[in-house]
Structures are given as structure tokens and as C-alpha cells.
């Protein structure tokens, strides 16, 4: 082995370190430099706005008013004011409730339907229902008929209106169904021969084996429920029942003042901009918390497998 590395050898070593085949050598230095610059630009564009917003939500009032590239003096006043106010807290609570209840129900009904439709050959009529479900991916009735339906069934101004219309996503159902159909059939057949009923097989064999896909789909549903904005705008008038996304839109984009957002008597209120930043951070935080888990499961290829299948 060469000890003194020439330019070519170094590239060779790079390749070997990455475990790539011998014909795949590293690109010349200038190409790699361009790639590095492009990649750094992309990541900065993606991350800097988020980092900036988080940092500014902690900025001291003086720096927030002056407007800086990155704050150096910090204060928690904005968060204190928001949690005093009640509106944002209420919004977070509503969103949390919708997310927890919605995700649970969605997972239950989606996986039930997926299991019911996983044996289209044996169960008469299930193929037709599968097609009926799949067809919904290609059309939707439109805003107004959906609104009129929710109005007719009396769900207006109820948090249930944010859950029920999106209870089962046809796409998620297909992903789970694909996963179910790839489970080892011997296990399920054996249980069936031993006299286990459909429900018992589902609860004791299928579900425990499907934890990875259920976790990913659960996270997808949760993110969807947390991010619900338009349905809330459409179906919920009562400000008490607004989810955090509507609260965010009102106070950050529409510029309405947050009621009751006062820290203590005597002290001046924190500047509006830090309040806005803090609301953005609170609305984003749960996503940032679950994101590493979602991300980890991508690498397991659950999704790509589903797309290819």
C-alpha cells in the first residue's frame, strides 16, 4: 500500500472509505468544490430561516426592535407573555387534542380497513370496495359540497369536524395494506387453521408485526392533524376552538394583536415581532420533536417500498 498519497491515491482512499466499488472514483477537486458550495447554499437556505425565527423569539426587546441578523442578548419575555395570554395556550390545547384523538382513531380505522381489504381473492365484494376507496385519490367533491355536508351533519364549530372528514387516507391505507400483505403468510395461515378468528389474528399477530409501518403512518397522520388549517378556517368560527395554525395565521399574518399578552404591570410589553416569532416556534415545536423519528423510518425504506409496490 502506498504511504505517500498522490492526488489520485487520495481520491482512491476516499472512495474506499465510503465503501464504493473500484470504478467509482471521486470527482476532481473543482467539481467537488462546486458541489460543496451548492450543498451548503441549499442547507443554509432551508435551515437559516427556521434558526433565525427560533433565535429571534428569544431576542431581548431592544435587539428585536432594532432588528439584527442574529440576536446576542436573550430574554424569555415573549414566551411569558404568550402563556399569560391564554389564546395561544388554548390553541395549542385544541391542536393537541385533535392530534392525539385524530391520530388514534385514524390508525384504528385505517388499519382495520387495510386488513379487511388485504384478502380480495377470498372475501367476495372486497375488490369492489378497494376500487371505490382508491378512486377517491383521483377526485374530490370540492370545497362547497364538503362544507355543506359538515353543516348538514351538525359538525360546524366542533373539533370533531377537524378529525372525521379526514379519518382515513386512501394512500395511507394502501401503504398499510401493502405491509400487511407482505407479512409471512404461514404465520397467519397457521393461526387460521388453529381456529383463531379474524379479530384475534388481527390484534395478536398482524398488529404487533406491523409496528414500523403503523409508527410511520401514525406520524404522518399526526403531522397532518397538527397542521390542519383550512378545515378549521372553514368549519370553526368559535375562536375558543381554533387550532394553533389558525391562531398563528391570525396573530402573525393577519396582524391581530394577541389579547391578554401582557407580562407584568409596569414593565413594557415585549415587541410584537418576538411574540410572533414565539407563536411560530410553538406551532412548529411538535413537528421538530417528532421529525427525527419520521426521518429514521424513511431510511428503513418503509415508504419507498410502498411507492415501488
Amino acid at each position: 500500500m502506498a504511504t505517500a498519497l498522490s492526488g489520485f491515491d487520495r481520491r482512491d482512499a476516499l472512495r474506499r472509505k465510503a465503501g464504493l466499488p473500484p470504478w467509482m472514483n471521486a470527482a476532481p477537486a473543482w467539481v467537488r468544490a462546486i458541489k460543496a458550495i451548492v450543498i451548503i447554499l441549499i442547507t443554509v437556505t432551508m435551515l437559516y430561516p427556521l434558526v433565525y425565527v427560533i433565535a429571534m423569539s428569544f431576542a431581548s426587546p431592544a435587539q428585536a426592535r432594532a432588528g439584527v441578523f442574529f440576536p446576542t442578548e436573550y430574554s424569555l419575555d415573549a414566551y411569558r407573555a404568550i402563556f399569560n395570554g391564554g389564546t395561544v395556550t388554548q390553541g395549542l390545547q385544541n391542536s393537541l387534542w385533535v392530534t392525539v384523538v385524530g391520530t388514534t382513531l385514524s390508525l384504528v380505522f385505517t388499519s382495520m380497513l387495510a386488513w379487511g381489504l388485504s384478502r380480495t381473492k377470498e372475501v367476495p365484494g372486497s375488490k369492489a370496495i378497494l376500487i371505490m376507496v382508491l378512486a377517491t385519490m383521483f377526485f374530490s367533491a370540492g370545497i362547497i359540497p364538503n362544507f355543506l355536508l359538515i353543516k348538514t351533519v351538525g359538525l360546524l364549530d366542533s373539533l370533531w369536524a377537524l378529525i372525521i372528514p379526514g379519518l382515513i387516507s386512501a394512500f395511507n391505507m394502501i401503504v398499510i395494506r401493502n405491509f400487511f400483505m407482505n407479512l409471512p403468510s404461514e404465520l397467519i395461515e397457521a393461526a387460521r387453521i388453529d381456529g383463531a378468528g379474524e379479530w384475534r389474528i388481527f390484534l395478536q399477530i398482524v398488529l404487533p408485526l406491523s409496528k414500523p409501518v403503523l409508527a410511520v403512518m401514525g406520524l404522518f397522520y399526526a403531522v397532518g392533524y397538527w397542521n390542519t388549517y383550512f378545515n378549521a378556517l372553514l368549519y370553526i368560527n368559535d375562536a375558543e376552538k381554533w387550532p394553533i395554525q389558525v391562531v398563528l395565521q391570525q396573530y402573525v399574518l393577519a396582524g391581530v394583536n394577541i389579547p391578554g399578552a401582557v407580562v407584568t404591570e409596569g414593565a413594557p410589553p415585549p415587541p410584537g415581532v418576538t411574540l410572533q416569532m414565539a407563536v411560530i416556534v410553538l406551532a412548529t415545536l411538535p413537528i421538530l420533536i417528532v421529525y427525527p423519528f419520521v426521518q429514521r423510518h424513511f431510511t428503513k425504506g418503509v415508504l419507498t417500498g410502498a411507492i415501488k409496490g
Binding site: 372475501v123 382515513i168 381456529g195
Partner: protein, 321 residues
């Protein structure tokens, strides 16, 4: 669920039916097959009912498009007006604006936002360090999970009046500039979803057999040529598929995104078909016209998907169905 133990007795019966000859199973009558699978239906019925009520019943609600509908009178009490609402659409200047904006944004998206994930996937695929690749993927997937409200709020804080850039360069406000708004919409879309869009292309790249690269390398093809002649052609089927799907939704351009920003730039720049339906129908109370516009849009979208699918198949590619 408490009756699940009752499923026990059916087993010997099933064994008897299956034991003599497997062919015999085919002759089992439909009624018996349904009865045998009765438990499977307990899984199907709730979900099927859900889709019936929340996807198919609203379809019927589109009759509003043929009515002079008012919420007071309801479906039964509202008078029928035939195609009057559809006629009204064609004479409505706002519809024309909405249609023009929709098509311009869709066109810009096709030019800039559609190829972006392909380029990014190729770039990331060409990286040698797996760690860098994973890290970049982690970063670029993230914005996809943020809601439009958050994305626009964040952009507002950076590019809007009183935002970061305007602090550095006085008077800068990209967010309420109606002239550049359509490009801004596309840029926001790329920022949010370019990373997410690469996933499907990575799946396609992973499906390309590696011996092709090896053979090409042995024949003297460099990294660039391998990308140009092996990877890129390998992505074409997926890209066609996505193009078909995009064509179907050409009249649907970022509804929440535009709804949120319309107050900032005005309806002339930001009214699209979906926001028109919302403002006219839900807020304005002109249910008939708004529903007719939505229905027309849905029908055109479906026709476009079917046509594009047929076209792709005729060209020898794979369709989506």
C-alpha cells in the same frame, strides 16, 4: 369482539370442505363464501361507510351547481336553474383572472418546481460521503412537514416588510410585491417540497442495476456520462408518471398557500380557482356559481389525467392505471 370465540366451530367445517380436493372450493356458493368470511366484513364496513359518506355523498352535493341554492331552503327547497350557473361563470371577469393566475402559476411550477427534485436527487446521488448525503436529506425533507401557515409566517419574517432582509436593506418587502408574487409562490413551493420530491427519485435510482454503471465505467464512461446515459434515463418512467399526476392537478395550485397570502398582494395577483370558490361560495354565499366553478374544475382535472395517462401509454410508457 366478545363473540370471537364462536369462530372456533367453523374450523372443522372449513377443513372438511378443503380436505377432499382443493378444486372443490371453487364450487362453494357465493352465499357460503360470504358467510365464511363474515368476520372480514366487520373490518371493511366501518371504512367503507366512511368513504361512502365523506367522499361519495359530497359528490351528490354537487347538484348545488344546478340550483339557485340557499342554505335556508336546503337542497330540496332550492329552485333548479339548469346550466345558468355555468353560463354565469363564463361572463364573470373574476373567473377569468382566477383561471389566468392558476395557469400561469401551474406553468411556472412545471418549469421550475418539477425538475428541481430531479436535479437535487442527481446531485445527492453523486455525493460519495453517505454521511453528508444523509444529513442533507434530513435537512431538505424537513420543510415538507411544516404547515403552510408556518412556512409563510417564516418567510414573512425573513423576506417581508420589517423582516430580516428589510432590516439589512431598508424598504425591502418581497412578500407583498404583486409583480413578483407568482415567482415567489413557486419559490416557496420549491423550498417546502423539493427535498420531499427527491424521495421517489431516490427509489428509482436505487432500482437501477449497479452492473450497468460498472459496465459503462469499464467502457470508459466518466461519472458525468454515467449520470447522463444511465441514471437520467432510469428516472424517465417515474418522471412521466409524476408529470401525468401533475397535469391532473394543473388547476389546483397551492390552495392554502395562496389563500394565506392573498390579503398581502391582493386578489388580482393571488386569486386562483380554488380561492375563488372559497370566497364566492363560503364567504360570499353564492353557492351555485362557486360550486359550478369547482365542479367544472374537477371534471377538467379528471379528463386531463385520463387523457395524459392514455397519451403516456400510447408513447409506450407506463400509465398510472
Amino acid at each position: 369482539m366478545s363473540t370471537q370465540t364462536e369462530a372456533g366451530p367453523r374450523v372443522p367445517a372449513q377443513r372438511d370442505a378443503g380436505a377432499p380436493a382443493p378444486i372443490k372450493q371453487r364450487k362453494v356458493s357465493l352465499r357460503k363464501r360470504i358467510w365464511r368470511e363474515r368476520w372480514a366484513y366487520t373490518f371493511i364496513v366501518p371504512g367503507a361507510l366512511f368513504f361512502l359518506v365523506f367522499a361519495y355523498v359530497p359528490m351528490a352535493g354537487n347538484v348545488v351547481a344546478f340550483q339557485d341554492f340557499s342554505a335556508f331552503r336546503g337542497f330540496a327547497g332550492s329552485p333548479w336553474v339548469g346550466f345558468q350557473n355555468f353560463e354565469a361563470i363564463f361572463y364573470d371577469p373574476e373567473v377569468l383572472t382566477a383561471l389566468r393566475n392558476t395557469l400561469i402559476i401551474a406553468f411556472l411550477q412545471l418549469i421550475f418546481a418539477f425538475p428541481a427534485p430531479i436535479a437535487l436527487a442527481l446531485l445527492l446521488d453523486s455525493l460519495m460521503s453517505l454521511r453528508v448525503k444523509r444529513w442533507v436529506q434530513t435537512v431538505v425533507y424537513l420543510p415538507h412537514f411544516l404547515s403552510w401557515v408556518i412556512v409563510i409566517s417564516v418567510w414573512q419574517q425573513v423576506l417581508g416588510g420589517g423582516g430580516l432582509i428589510s432590516n439589512l436593506v431598508g424598504g425591502f418587502d418581497l412578500m407583498s410585491n404583486a409583480d413578483t408574487f407568482k415567482l415567489l409562490v413557486v419559490a416557496q413551493g420549491v423550498w417546502k417540497d423539493v427535498g420531499w420530491g427527491t424521495i421517489i427519485f431516490f427509489a428509482a435510482i436505487a432500482g437501477i442495476p449497479s452492473d450497468r454503471y460498472e459496465a459503462a465505467a469499464i467502457d470508459g464512461a466518466g461519472a458525468w456520462q454515467r449520470m447522463r446515459h444511465i441514471t437520467l434515463p432510469g428516472l424517465i418512467p417515474v418522471a412521466t408518471l409524476l408529470l401525468i399526476l401533475n397535469l391532473g392537478s394543473i388547476l389546483t395550485v397551492g390552495f392554502e398557500q395562496l389563500l394565506l397570502q392573498q390579503p398581502m398582494v391582493g386578489a388580482d395577483a393571488a386569486q386562483v380557482l380554488d380561492t375563488f370558490v372559497y370566497f364566492r361560495g363560503v364567504l360570499g354565499g353564492e353557492w351555485g356559481i362557486a360550486t359550478a366553478a369547482g365542479l367544472l374544475k374537477g371534471i377538467i382535472g379528471t379528463v386531463l389525467v385520463l387523457a395524459a395517462n392514455k397519451f403516456a401509454k400510447r408513447l409506450g410508457g407506463e400509465g398510472i392505471f
